[in-house]
Point group: C2
Chain length 162, copies 2
Amino acid sequence: MTLDTTPGPIWSDDALWLDDFAEGMTFRSGEYEVTEEELVEFATHYDPQGFHLGEEQARGSFFGGLAASGWHTAAITMRLLVTSELRVATGLIGTDITLKWPSATRPGDVLHLEITVDSVSRSASRPNRGSVVFSYDTLNQHGEVRQHTTARVVAWSRPAGA
Amino acid sequence: MTLDTTPGPIWSDDALWLDDFAEGMTFRSGEYEVTEEELVEFATHYDPQGFHLGEEQARGSFFGGLAASGWHTAAITMRLLVTSELRVATGLIGTDITLKWPSATRPGDVLHLEITVDSVSRSASRPNRGSVVFSYDTLNQHGEVRQHTTARVVAWSRPAGA
Protein backbone atom coordinates (compact mmCIF):
# COMPACT_ATOMS: atom_id res chain seq x y z
CA MET A 1 0.00 0.00 0.00
CA THR A 2 1.34 3.44 -0.89
CA LEU A 3 -0.05 4.94 2.29
CA ASP A 4 1.25 6.79 5.33
CA THR A 5 2.78 4.24 7.69
CA THR A 6 2.57 6.23 10.92
CA PRO A 7 0.05 4.93 13.44
CA GLY A 8 -3.31 6.68 13.53
CA PRO A 9 -5.16 7.99 16.55
CA ILE A 10 -5.48 5.80 19.61
CA TRP A 11 -9.09 4.80 20.23
CA SER A 12 -9.00 4.09 23.95
CA ASP A 13 -6.59 3.55 26.82
CA ASP A 14 -7.18 -0.20 26.87
CA ALA A 15 -6.56 -0.54 23.14
CA LEU A 16 -4.25 -3.30 21.91
CA TRP A 17 -0.98 -2.92 20.03
CA LEU A 18 0.83 -5.54 17.91
CA ASP A 19 2.78 -6.73 21.00
CA ASP A 20 -0.44 -7.37 22.92
CA PHE A 21 -1.85 -10.00 20.54
CA ALA A 22 -1.19 -13.73 20.77
CA GLU A 23 -2.52 -16.72 18.86
CA GLY A 24 -5.66 -18.15 20.44
CA MET A 25 -6.96 -14.97 22.10
CA THR A 26 -10.73 -14.62 21.75
CA PHE A 27 -13.14 -11.69 21.72
CA ARG A 28 -16.90 -11.29 21.50
CA SER A 29 -19.17 -8.65 19.98
CA GLY A 30 -22.53 -7.23 20.95
CA GLU A 31 -25.68 -8.08 18.98
CA TYR A 32 -27.36 -6.64 15.89
CA GLU A 33 -30.95 -7.35 14.86
CA VAL A 34 -31.55 -7.45 11.10
CA THR A 35 -34.95 -6.04 10.12
CA GLU A 36 -36.70 -6.76 6.83
CA GLU A 37 -36.77 -3.02 6.16
CA GLU A 38 -32.99 -2.61 6.45
CA LEU A 39 -32.37 -5.84 4.52
CA VAL A 40 -34.44 -4.63 1.55
CA GLU A 41 -33.04 -1.08 1.72
CA PHE A 42 -29.42 -2.29 1.57
CA ALA A 43 -30.16 -4.67 -1.32
CA THR A 44 -32.12 -2.05 -3.25
CA HIS A 45 -29.02 0.10 -3.31
CA TYR A 46 -26.13 -2.38 -3.45
CA ASP A 47 -27.41 -5.81 -4.56
CA PRO A 48 -30.71 -5.39 -6.44
CA GLN A 49 -31.55 -9.04 -7.14
CA GLY A 50 -35.11 -10.34 -6.67
CA PHE A 51 -34.31 -12.78 -3.85
CA HIS A 52 -32.99 -9.85 -1.74
CA LEU A 53 -35.82 -7.42 -2.54
CA GLY A 54 -39.11 -9.00 -1.45
CA GLU A 55 -40.68 -12.14 -0.04
CA GLU A 56 -42.75 -12.77 -3.16
CA GLN A 57 -39.84 -12.56 -5.64
CA ALA A 58 -37.68 -14.66 -3.29
CA ARG A 59 -40.12 -17.53 -2.84
CA GLY A 60 -39.24 -19.48 -6.01
CA SER A 61 -35.53 -18.71 -5.79
CA PHE A 62 -32.45 -20.61 -4.59
CA PHE A 63 -33.02 -19.14 -1.11
CA GLY A 64 -36.68 -20.20 -0.85
CA GLY A 65 -37.53 -16.87 0.79
CA LEU A 66 -36.24 -13.38 1.45
CA ALA A 67 -32.48 -13.47 2.10
CA ALA A 68 -30.00 -10.69 2.88
CA SER A 69 -27.23 -9.84 0.45
CA GLY A 70 -24.00 -11.46 1.64
CA TRP A 71 -22.46 -7.99 1.39
CA HIS A 72 -25.04 -6.74 3.87
CA THR A 73 -24.03 -9.53 6.27
CA ALA A 74 -20.42 -8.45 5.69
CA ALA A 75 -21.20 -4.79 6.44
CA ILE A 76 -23.09 -5.67 9.64
CA THR A 77 -20.20 -7.94 10.62
CA MET A 78 -17.83 -4.98 10.31
CA ARG A 79 -20.07 -2.86 12.54
CA LEU A 80 -20.11 -5.65 15.15
CA LEU A 81 -16.32 -5.95 14.92
CA VAL A 82 -15.66 -2.20 15.27
CA THR A 83 -17.97 -1.96 18.29
CA SER A 84 -16.74 -5.22 19.90
CA GLU A 85 -14.39 -5.64 22.86
CA LEU A 86 -11.54 -6.10 20.35
CA ARG A 87 -9.91 -2.65 20.25
CA VAL A 88 -6.91 -2.37 17.96
CA ALA A 89 -5.04 0.81 18.98
CA THR A 90 -4.73 2.20 15.46
CA GLY A 91 -8.12 1.04 14.23
CA LEU A 92 -9.25 -1.96 12.22
CA ILE A 93 -7.55 -1.70 8.84
CA GLY A 94 -7.89 -4.91 6.85
CA THR A 95 -5.85 -5.75 3.76
CA ASP A 96 -6.68 -9.38 2.86
CA ILE A 97 -10.06 -10.95 3.48
CA THR A 98 -11.66 -14.32 2.87
CA LEU A 99 -15.42 -14.76 3.26
CA LYS A 100 -17.72 -17.76 3.21
CA TRP A 101 -21.50 -17.60 3.46
CA PRO A 102 -22.64 -21.09 4.59
CA SER A 103 -26.21 -19.77 4.89
CA ALA A 104 -27.97 -16.48 4.21
CA THR A 105 -29.01 -13.93 6.84
CA ARG A 106 -32.81 -13.72 7.22
CA PRO A 107 -35.12 -10.98 8.53
CA GLY A 108 -35.29 -11.24 12.32
CA ASP A 109 -31.77 -12.66 12.71
CA VAL A 110 -29.96 -11.31 15.77
CA LEU A 111 -26.30 -11.52 14.84
CA HIS A 112 -23.13 -11.56 16.95
CA LEU A 113 -19.47 -12.39 16.38
CA GLU A 114 -17.08 -14.87 17.93
CA ILE A 115 -13.54 -13.72 17.17
CA THR A 116 -10.21 -15.59 17.44
CA VAL A 117 -6.61 -14.51 16.82
CA ASP A 118 -5.21 -16.97 14.26
CA SER A 119 -1.67 -15.60 13.97
CA VAL A 120 0.55 -12.61 14.69
CA SER A 121 3.48 -11.62 12.48
CA ARG A 122 6.06 -8.87 12.51
CA SER A 123 7.60 -7.23 9.46
CA ALA A 124 11.24 -8.26 8.99
CA SER A 125 12.18 -4.95 7.38
CA ARG A 126 10.08 -2.68 9.64
CA PRO A 127 10.01 -4.43 13.05
CA ASN A 128 7.70 -1.82 14.60
CA ARG A 129 4.87 -2.99 12.44
CA GLY A 130 3.20 -6.23 11.46
CA SER A 131 -0.17 -7.84 11.09
CA VAL A 132 -2.68 -9.89 13.02
CA VAL A 133 -4.92 -12.45 11.31
CA PHE A 134 -8.34 -12.74 12.92
CA SER A 135 -11.02 -15.29 12.10
CA TYR A 136 -14.61 -14.72 13.14
CA ASP A 137 -17.97 -16.32 12.71
CA THR A 138 -21.12 -14.26 12.35
CA LEU A 139 -23.84 -16.29 14.11
CA ASN A 140 -27.55 -15.76 14.64
CA GLN A 141 -29.54 -16.37 17.84
CA HIS A 142 -29.88 -20.09 16.95
CA GLY A 143 -26.14 -20.60 16.45
CA GLU A 144 -26.43 -20.76 12.65
CA VAL A 145 -23.26 -19.46 10.95
CA ARG A 146 -24.17 -16.72 8.45
CA GLN A 147 -20.59 -15.75 7.60
CA HIS A 148 -17.09 -16.99 8.27
CA THR A 149 -14.37 -14.38 7.79
CA THR A 150 -10.60 -14.26 8.00
CA ALA A 151 -9.03 -10.81 7.94
CA ARG A 152 -5.41 -9.67 7.97
CA VAL A 153 -5.27 -6.42 9.94
CA VAL A 154 -2.27 -4.06 10.12
CA ALA A 155 -0.88 -3.32 13.59
CA TRP A 156 1.98 -1.36 15.14
CA SER A 157 4.15 -1.85 18.20
CA ARG A 158 3.27 0.29 21.17
CA PRO A 159 5.12 3.60 20.72
CA ALA A 160 7.26 4.87 23.61
CA GLY A 161 4.99 6.64 26.06
CA ALA A 162 1.72 5.07 24.83
CA MET B 1 -25.72 -24.97 2.06
CA THR B 2 -28.99 -26.42 3.26
CA LEU B 3 -30.93 -24.52 0.63
CA ASP B 4 -33.27 -25.28 -2.22
CA THR B 5 -31.21 -26.47 -5.17
CA THR B 6 -33.65 -25.67 -7.96
CA PRO B 7 -32.69 -22.77 -10.23
CA GLY B 8 -34.25 -19.41 -9.47
CA PRO B 9 -36.00 -17.03 -11.85
CA ILE B 10 -34.38 -16.23 -15.18
CA TRP B 11 -33.35 -12.58 -15.35
CA SER B 12 -33.27 -12.03 -19.10
CA ASP B 13 -33.35 -13.90 -22.39
CA ASP B 14 -29.65 -13.35 -23.00
CA ALA B 15 -28.68 -14.59 -19.54
CA LEU B 16 -25.86 -17.12 -19.23
CA TRP B 17 -26.05 -20.68 -17.88
CA LEU B 18 -23.21 -22.87 -16.59
CA ASP B 19 -22.66 -24.27 -20.12
CA ASP B 20 -22.20 -20.77 -21.56
CA PHE B 21 -19.14 -19.85 -19.46
CA ALA B 22 -15.53 -20.54 -20.46
CA GLU B 23 -12.21 -19.60 -18.89
CA GLY B 24 -10.90 -16.27 -20.13
CA MET B 25 -14.26 -14.64 -20.98
CA THR B 26 -14.34 -10.97 -19.97
CA PHE B 27 -17.12 -8.56 -19.01
CA ARG B 28 -17.29 -4.88 -18.09
CA SER B 29 -19.51 -2.87 -15.78
CA GLY B 30 -20.90 0.65 -15.90
CA GLU B 31 -19.57 3.39 -13.61
CA TYR B 32 -20.38 4.53 -10.09
CA GLU B 33 -19.35 7.89 -8.61
CA VAL B 34 -18.58 7.81 -4.89
CA THR B 35 -19.64 11.00 -3.11
CA GLU B 36 -18.28 12.13 0.25
CA GLU B 37 -21.86 12.17 1.56
CA GLU B 38 -22.49 8.50 0.71
CA LEU B 39 -19.02 7.49 1.94
CA VAL B 40 -19.60 9.04 5.37
CA GLU B 41 -23.20 7.76 5.58
CA PHE B 42 -22.16 4.16 4.90
CA ALA B 43 -19.30 4.33 7.42
CA THR B 44 -21.45 5.97 10.09
CA HIS B 45 -23.72 2.95 9.98
CA TYR B 46 -21.39 0.05 9.20
CA ASP B 47 -17.78 1.04 9.91
CA PRO B 48 -17.70 3.97 12.36
CA GLN B 49 -13.94 4.59 12.55
CA GLY B 50 -12.57 8.17 12.45
CA PHE B 51 -10.70 7.83 9.16
CA HIS B 52 -13.98 6.93 7.40
CA LEU B 53 -16.10 9.63 9.07
CA GLY B 54 -14.60 13.02 8.28
CA GLU B 55 -11.66 14.78 6.64
CA GLU B 56 -10.41 16.25 9.91
CA GLN B 57 -10.35 12.97 11.87
CA ALA B 58 -8.77 11.19 8.87
CA ARG B 59 -5.89 13.63 8.34
CA GLY B 60 -3.51 12.17 10.94
CA SER B 61 -4.47 8.56 10.23
CA PHE B 62 -2.96 5.71 8.23
CA PHE B 63 -4.95 6.89 5.19
CA GLY B 64 -3.78 10.53 5.38
CA GLY B 65 -7.27 11.73 4.48
CA LEU B 66 -10.89 10.63 4.23
CA ALA B 67 -11.09 7.04 2.95
CA ALA B 68 -14.08 4.78 2.27
CA SER B 69 -14.63 1.65 4.31
CA GLY B 70 -13.40 -1.35 2.35
CA TRP B 71 -16.85 -2.83 2.92
CA HIS B 72 -18.37 0.15 1.15
CA THR B 73 -16.08 -0.48 -1.83
CA ALA B 74 -17.22 -4.11 -1.67
CA ALA B 75 -20.92 -3.13 -1.63
CA ILE B 76 -20.50 -0.73 -4.58
CA THR B 77 -18.56 -3.46 -6.41
CA MET B 78 -21.56 -5.79 -5.99
CA ARG B 79 -23.90 -3.15 -7.42
CA LEU B 80 -21.60 -2.71 -10.41
CA LEU B 81 -21.44 -6.49 -10.88
CA VAL B 82 -25.23 -7.01 -10.66
CA THR B 83 -25.87 -4.20 -13.17
CA SER B 84 -23.00 -5.18 -15.52
CA GLU B 85 -23.20 -7.00 -18.86
CA LEU B 86 -22.48 -10.26 -16.96
CA ARG B 87 -25.93 -11.82 -16.55
CA VAL B 88 -25.97 -15.17 -14.77
CA ALA B 89 -29.35 -16.77 -15.54
CA THR B 90 -30.17 -17.64 -11.93
CA GLY B 91 -28.61 -14.55 -10.36
CA LEU B 92 -25.26 -13.84 -8.75
CA ILE B 93 -25.03 -16.11 -5.71
CA GLY B 94 -21.53 -16.16 -4.28
CA THR B 95 -20.29 -18.74 -1.78
CA ASP B 96 -16.52 -18.15 -1.40
CA ILE B 97 -14.91 -14.74 -1.70
CA THR B 98 -11.41 -13.34 -1.43
CA LEU B 99 -10.85 -9.57 -1.25
CA LYS B 100 -7.77 -7.37 -1.33
CA TRP B 101 -7.77 -3.61 -0.91
CA PRO B 102 -4.49 -2.36 -2.44
CA SER B 103 -5.65 1.24 -1.88
CA ALA B 104 -8.69 2.92 -0.37
CA THR B 105 -11.61 4.44 -2.31
CA ARG B 106 -11.69 8.26 -2.01
CA PRO B 107 -14.49 10.82 -2.41
CA GLY B 108 -14.86 11.63 -6.12
CA ASP B 109 -13.71 8.21 -7.31
CA VAL B 110 -15.64 6.98 -10.35
CA LEU B 111 -15.45 3.20 -10.10
CA HIS B 112 -15.94 0.47 -12.69
CA LEU B 113 -15.19 -3.26 -12.89
CA GLU B 114 -13.15 -5.40 -15.24
CA ILE B 115 -14.32 -8.99 -14.88
CA THR B 116 -12.70 -12.26 -16.04
CA VAL B 117 -13.83 -15.90 -15.85
CA ASP B 118 -11.04 -17.78 -14.04
CA SER B 119 -12.52 -21.28 -14.10
CA VAL B 120 -15.70 -23.27 -14.64
CA SER B 121 -16.44 -26.52 -12.82
CA ARG B 122 -19.28 -29.01 -12.80
CA SER B 123 -20.46 -31.04 -9.82
CA ALA B 124 -19.55 -34.73 -10.16
CA SER B 125 -22.58 -35.87 -8.16
CA ARG B 126 -25.08 -33.35 -9.60
CA PRO B 127 -23.95 -32.73 -13.20
CA ASN B 128 -26.66 -30.14 -13.88
CA ARG B 129 -24.99 -27.75 -11.51
CA GLY B 130 -21.57 -26.32 -10.83
CA SER B 131 -19.76 -23.09 -10.20
CA VAL B 132 -17.93 -20.33 -12.01
CA VAL B 133 -15.00 -18.48 -10.42
CA PHE B 134 -14.83 -14.83 -11.46
CA SER B 135 -12.04 -12.39 -10.67
CA TYR B 136 -12.60 -8.67 -10.96
CA ASP B 137 -10.78 -5.45 -10.27
CA THR B 138 -12.59 -2.37 -9.04
CA LEU B 139 -10.76 0.57 -10.64
CA ASN B 140 -11.19 4.33 -10.45
CA GLN B 141 -11.02 6.83 -13.32
CA HIS B 142 -7.21 6.93 -13.06
CA GLY B 143 -6.79 3.15 -13.28
CA GLU B 144 -5.98 2.77 -9.57
CA VAL B 145 -7.14 -0.60 -8.23
CA ARG B 146 -9.35 -0.10 -5.18
CA GLN B 147 -10.35 -3.75 -4.76
CA HIS B 148 -9.43 -7.11 -6.21
CA THR B 149 -12.04 -9.82 -5.76
CA THR B 150 -12.37 -13.49 -6.58
CA ALA B 151 -15.84 -14.97 -6.18
CA ARG B 152 -17.15 -18.51 -6.63
CA VAL B 153 -20.71 -18.24 -7.99
CA VAL B 154 -23.19 -21.12 -8.25
CA ALA B 155 -24.59 -21.88 -11.72
CA TRP B 156 -26.90 -24.39 -13.35
CA SER B 157 -27.06 -26.01 -16.78
CA ARG B 158 -29.63 -24.57 -19.14
CA PRO B 159 -32.90 -26.42 -18.46
CA ALA B 160 -34.76 -28.02 -21.38
CA GLY B 161 -36.80 -25.30 -23.05
CA ALA B 162 -34.87 -22.32 -21.62
